[in-house]
Every structure is written in structure tokens, then in C-alpha cells.
């Protein structure tokens, strides 16, 4: 077969070889030219790396709008998935973006790969109002927070079902009704460990408990859109889900109830950082400071029902009453289940592998 594959090239004689090399070189040059042109276009703007879709829009409509208003500098975006962007940043010789938004534990992978600039907090006056849980590392800090908790459709589960505790997820009446993210099982692994007397660092204590939850799982969702589709259609009327997603769906008219179990909900923090070697570091500091301003944080909460990461944001009473929107120190201390980000960055692969091998079959 290999011979057959090679035989197609028999007519490529030596005289053609030089021409081929020249043509390939031309193709490479054209591609490189296109890349340089793109880079040149971004020269005069602050470049922000973020997820696409609603997160890009959120940043654009809240932080960037205010940033451009104050500085006159436009903002451009590099969008992509969490790991795609991390890989690209790692492979790039020079930073492609000035600012990177990513999840807190993934941020540690950037830190471990020496991709972030150590933050000079004196250049971020609003840093003084940052809540402790959003001070992730000397390199990256929170931009907004959310929880992974239980969201369910009261119209599609037995009337007696309540979620006062995470233990209620193990109710046999929920057989074949549950879904959770397939991209990150850390939430449910940590919960099972806690309910079994352990924590994230001793997660093996929860293995048996987690396996007992298997009959209740109907599916695992791949992304936010998939999560929304599964709960909106009623395919999986109970989900371990992102609070912001649940509130978005509620806004769309889907009758979802968000629970706050007595043990709390698993905290997630999306972070921002300045890329090492950024030629626009001063502008990047301004951008981060604006992101942490009370006005912008208030807009983020109103738009996404996220938790503000500063202690002086103005949040409407209606939003403040939502489960998973933390506005007081007491809520941060008692309702947030925190998985150490560094541990999570190190353990994610092990947890994911265990989950795939033991739960998703």
C-alpha cells in the first residue's frame, strides 16, 4: 500500500523539484504575509484574548467600552476555547494578546509556563477592593465569579424533590435525570469527597460515593450551549451547572430553579492577566483597573448574574438575592466551596481520566 502511495509521485522529476520548492515557499510566504497583516492591524489597539460568544460580548460591552471611552484606544479580540488559546500562547514567540481572560485554575497553567507578567498592584487602584477569593495569584486576578451548583426543572422532577443538600442528588427518584459537564468533573468529584469526609486533596475518599451516583446520570454535556439545550428540552431536568447559564435560561423563559445546598456551591472565578512581554502593559493595567471599577462590576452582575469580585459594587436587591450571587463577606465565606486552583490545575487530568474510565461508560 505504501508503495502505491509513493508511486503517484513517479512523474515528479528533478526538474520539477525546484519549481515545487519555489511554489511551496511562495505558499508559505503568502500565509505568513497574511498573518503579519493581521498582526499589523492590531498594532494600535489593546488585544484581549477571551472566549467567543457571550463572554466576548460581555467584555466588549462593559469593560472595553469604558476603556475606549477613557483612553481612546480601541480593543481587539482573539477568541477561542480555553485550551486552544493556552496552546497558542505557549507556541507564540511573542505574546499575541496584551490581556488574557481564562478560568482561574487554567490561569495557573499560564503561570507555570511563564506566560504571565507579575502584577504590580500599585498600578491597579481598585485592587484594594478585590475580595480575597479573587486574588488568585501574583499573576492573575478575578474578573467575575460564579458557582457550579444544582439547577433543576421543578416541572419535570417529582414534586417532593428538594435540593437542600448535595446528598439529594443521590435520590433514586432522579434515576436517568442528571447531567454534568464532561469537560470538567472537578465539581462533582469535590462534592463527593466532601460528603465522604474528605476534600479535593483527598478526593479518593469520594470514589465509592461518586460511583453510586452513576445510575442518576443520563448524559454529560460538552459545552454551555449543550447544557442549555439539555435542560431547556427537559432531556436532563437536573444538572450540575454554571449559575450564569441557569440565569440566562431563566431569562429566556425556561422554568429552572437554582439551588444553594447547605454545603454551599463550587466557586469558579474567571480571571484576567497581562501577558509577559506585552508592549502595551500600561494600557493593560488601565484595562484591569476599569474591569474592577464599581460601575463596570455592577454592569457585569446585571448582565450575567455573576458575583462581583470587589466589595463595593452596586448590586440590585433582586440580583443580590439570587443563589450563587455573592455580595457579602459572609456569603463568600459560607456559601462558596473553594477548590484550591493550583491543586485543581494539577489534578484536573487525573480527575478527568478517572471520571472517563469509571463514570462515562
Amino acid at each position: 500500500m505504501i508503495k502505491k502511495l509513493l508511486s503517484v509521485g513517479h512523474w515528479v522529476d528533478a526538474s520539477v523539484g525546484g519549481s515545487v520548492i519555489a511554489s511551496v515557499a511562495m505558499s508559505v510566504a503568502l500565509s505568513a504575509g497574511a498573518l503579519f497583516a493581521t498582526a499589523a492591524q492590531a498594532q494600535d489597539a489593546l488585544v484581549v484574548s477571551t472566549w467567543g460568544g457571550s463572554f466576548r460580548d460581555l467584555i466588549d460591552e462593559t469593560i472595553s467600552k469604558e476603556f475606549t471611552k477613557q483612553t481612546g484606544v480601541p480593543v481587539k479580540y482573539i477568541t477561542g476555547g480555553t485550551i486552544d488559546r493556552l496552546n497558542k500562547a505557549k507556541l507564540a514567540g511573542k505574546p499575541e494578546s496584551d490581556i488574557t481572560f481564562t478560568t482561574s485554575h487554567i490561569g495557573w497553567l499560564y503561570v507555570n509556563s511563564n506566560l504571565y507578567e507579575k502584577l504590580d498592584t500599585s498600578k491597579i487602584p481598585n485592587y484594594s477592593h478585590l475580595v480575597d477569593r479573587a486574588k488568585i495569584s501574583p499573576y492573575h486576578i478575578g474578573s467575575w465569579a460564579y458557582v457550579y451548583t444544582i439547577g433543576y426543572r421543578p416541572d419535570l422532577v417529582p414534586a417532593n424533590i428538594k435540593f437542600d443538600s448535595w446528598n439529594d442528588l443521590w435520590n433514586p427518584e432522579l434515576k436517568g435525570k442528571l447531567s454534568a459537564p464532561d469537560f470538567d468533573p472537578s465539581h462533582i468529584i469535590d462534592i463527593a469527597a466532601i460528603l465522604s469526609g474528605g476534600d479535593a486533596s483527598t478526593w479518593q475518599k469520594g470514589e465509592a460515593k461518586l460511583k453510586a451516583l452513576k445510575p442518576n446520570f443520563k448524559a454529560y454535556y460538552t459545552n454551555d450551549a449543550n447544557s442549555q439545550q439539555l435542560i431547556a428540552s427537559g432531556e436532563t431536568p437536573v444538572q450540575v451547572l454554571l449559575s450564569m447559564n441557569a440565569y440566562y435560561m431563566i431569562g429566556q423563559g425556561v422554568p429552572i430553579k437554582v439551588a444553594m445546598p447547605k454545603e454551599g456551591a463550587v466557586l469558579g472565578v474567571d480571571t484576567m492577566a497581562i501577558m509577559k512581554g506585552s508592549p502595551r502593559a500600561d494600557l493593560a493595567y488601565k484595562f484591569i483597573n476599569i474591569a474592577l471599577s464599581p460601575e463596570v462590576q455592577s454592569k457585569i452582575v446585571a448582565a450575567k448574574k455573576a458575583s462581583p469580585v470587589i466589595d463595593d459594587a452596586k448590586v440590585s436587591a433582586e440580583d443580590a438575592a439570587l443563589p450563587g450571587v455573592f455580595t457579602t463577606k459572609q456569603q463568600w465565606d459560607t456559601q462558596a466551596i473553594v477548590i484550591d486552583d493550583k491543586l485543581r490545575a494539577e489534578k484536573t487530568a487525573e480527575w478527568r481520566k478517572w471520571f472517563t474510565e469509571n463514570m462515562m461508560n
Partner: protein
């Protein structure tokens, strides 16, 4: 260098460039597959074969079996459904009917895999079209489990594959000289016998091309098994995604990809041998 050689150079340069890129990408994947995974880092460690020995766990074997099974089943059902459509497309004389068949069979090709897969979620779901109709007809009380099952993934994959198979089969059937069929009929063969002994063997090149394409296409399918399977129908591609992009365990994902690639190559070689034997046996 004469003008003809220069033209040849220009003509093969895009293919050479793409081949070069694929070779580099494959070499990178191969390199990752024999490197140790370092938790909490995207860097990889020293040389190891542990990634390959780790693939003997039941979940990975299940993924290989599922993938092969889905590829074979999708190929068979796609051809069974597509052949009558392709036959009608070529042989029907009524223009309106011909256009109707063409639209029905080919339109899904323009929708994209994601859109088609989402459509199947709506059709196969608990409150989807099939379950709703069956419930209203009083045939079932409880919804049938179609989503997140092997059957659901198979149905959606067959739908994704049919347009391509229809096009390949229609091309093959259109090349069959009608005189052979007329000769068989004049010698007393009925329509079924004519089809089985003349038309079908003469359309074998199209069938074999469809088998190869459909098999390879399904083996590498990702969006459909991922979304319709909902994590309950593991395949090679969904596990590669989960291990590589969710766990960041690139070495294990790379080893799974390499074994999957080897398996595809073996399957396609076997198909190639079958094709040659059929040609030697007297196929068209």
C-alpha cells in the same frame, strides 16, 4: 525548466504543502504519544510507552469496539438507504420527481454536521418528534430512550453520511450502459434478476468507493457521537477530545489517536484487498 514542468510545479505545490503540514502534524502527534504526561503542565516528560499500555483499560477498548461497530453499521445502512435514492435519481424521467429526490438527498449536505446533529436531538429527544408521535398514537407510555444511545448515534451518523453516498452511487449507476440491462431482459430475465445480476454488479465500483468513504468518515466522526452520545457512547474521537482538551493529557490523547489511525489504516487496507479480489473476480 520548460513551461510544462513549471506548470506541473505550480499544480502540485498546494498538495505538497498540505502533505508537508499533515506529515509535520502526524510526527508531532507520534512524538507526544511516547512522552510522559506531567500533571499541571502542558510540557511533556521523557520517553515512555505507558500511554499505549494504558489503552488496554475497558473504557478505551469499548471506544475502539464502538467506533468500529458504528463505522460498519453506518456504512451498511447508508448504502441500503442511499442505493434506492441514487437509483431513482438516475433512472426516473420525471423532472419534478428527480429534483425532489435530489433536494431530499443532498440538502442535508449544505446544513453542516452541527446543525444536522442538533436537528436529530430535537427528533430523538424524550419530547422529540418520534416519541411524541408514538405517544399520541398510544403505542408507548414512556418515551423511548433514543438520545444518548448507540442507536441514536447510528441514526444520526447514517443521516450525515447518506448525501455523500447518494452522490457516489448515482455517479456509478449513471455510468452503467443500459444496453446490458436491455440484453438481460431480452434474454428473459425479470426486473429483479436483471438488477441482481447486471445492475448491482456493474455499480460495484460506486458501492466499494462508498464503503471506503463512509467507513473512514464515520471512524473520524466527532460532533455527532459527542452530542447525540452525550458522553454515554464513547468513541475514539470523543475520548481523544476529552483526554486532550478537557484533561490536557496530550500524551494519552496522542497515543489513542495513533492507535485509531493504525486501526483505520488496517481496515482500509483490508477493504482495498476486498476491492482487488472483487475486480479480479470479474467485477466492473
Amino acid at each position: 525548466m520548460d513551461a510544462r514542468s513549471k506548470l506541473k510545479g505550480w499544480l502540485i505545490s498546494p498538495a505538497s504543502f498540505i502533505a508537508l503540514c499533515i506529515c509535520v502534524a502526524l510526527a508531532t502527534v507520534l512524538q507526544y504519544s511516547v512522552r510522559a504526561f506531567i500533571p499541571g503542565s502542558l510540557d511533556v516528560g521523557g520517553l515512555t510507552l505507558a500511554n499505549f499500555t494504558g489503552l488496554t483499560k475497558p473504557i478505551y477498548l469499548e471506544a475502539f469496539v464502538n467506533t468500529l461497530r458504528l463505522s460498519v453499521e453506518t456504512t451498511i445502512f447508508s448504502i441500503l438507504v442511499a442505493y434506492p435514492l441514487a437509483y431513482a435519481l438516475v433512472r426516473v424521467r420525471n423532472r419534478f420527481f428527480k429534483s425532489f429526490i435530489l433536494i431530499v438527498s443532498i440538502t442535508p449536505l449544505f446544513l453542516g454536521e452541527i446543525v444536522r446533529t442538533y436537528s436529530w436531538i430535537i427528533v430523538l429527544g424524550n419530547n422529540g418528534f418520534i416519541n411524541t408521535v408514538l405517544r399520541k398514537l398510544g403505542i408507548i407510555d414512556q418515551p423511548l430512550a433514543l438520545m444518548f444511545t448507540h442507536l441514536g448515534v447510528l441514526v444520526a451518523l447514517v443521516h450525515v453520511t447518506i448525501p455523500v453516498v447518494v452522490l457516489m452511487l448515482a455517479t456509478a449507476i449513471s455510468h452503467i450502459d443500459r444496453d446490458y440491462e436491455k440484453a438481460a431482459e431480452s434474454l428473459g430475465a425479470g426486473p429483479v434478476r436483471t438488477f441482481l445480476t447486471v445492475t448491482l454488479p456493474l455499480s460495484m465500483p460506486g458501492i466499494l468507493a462508498s464503503v471506503t468513504t463512509s467507513f473512514a468518515w464515520t471512524f473520524s466522526a466527532f460532533a455527532t457521537p459527542q452530542m447525540i452520545g452525550g458522553g454515554r457512547v464513547p468513541t475514539v474521537s470523543t475520548l481523544v477530545y476529552q483526554l486532550g482538551f478537557a484533561s490536557m493529557n496530550f500524551p494519552l490523547a496522542a497515543s489513542l489517536s495513533i492507535v485509531g489511525l493504525a486501526l483505520t489504516a488496517v481496515a482500509l487496507m483490508l477493504l482495498g484487498q476486498v476491492t482487488r479480489r472483487m475486480k479480479a473476480f470479474g467485477g466492473h
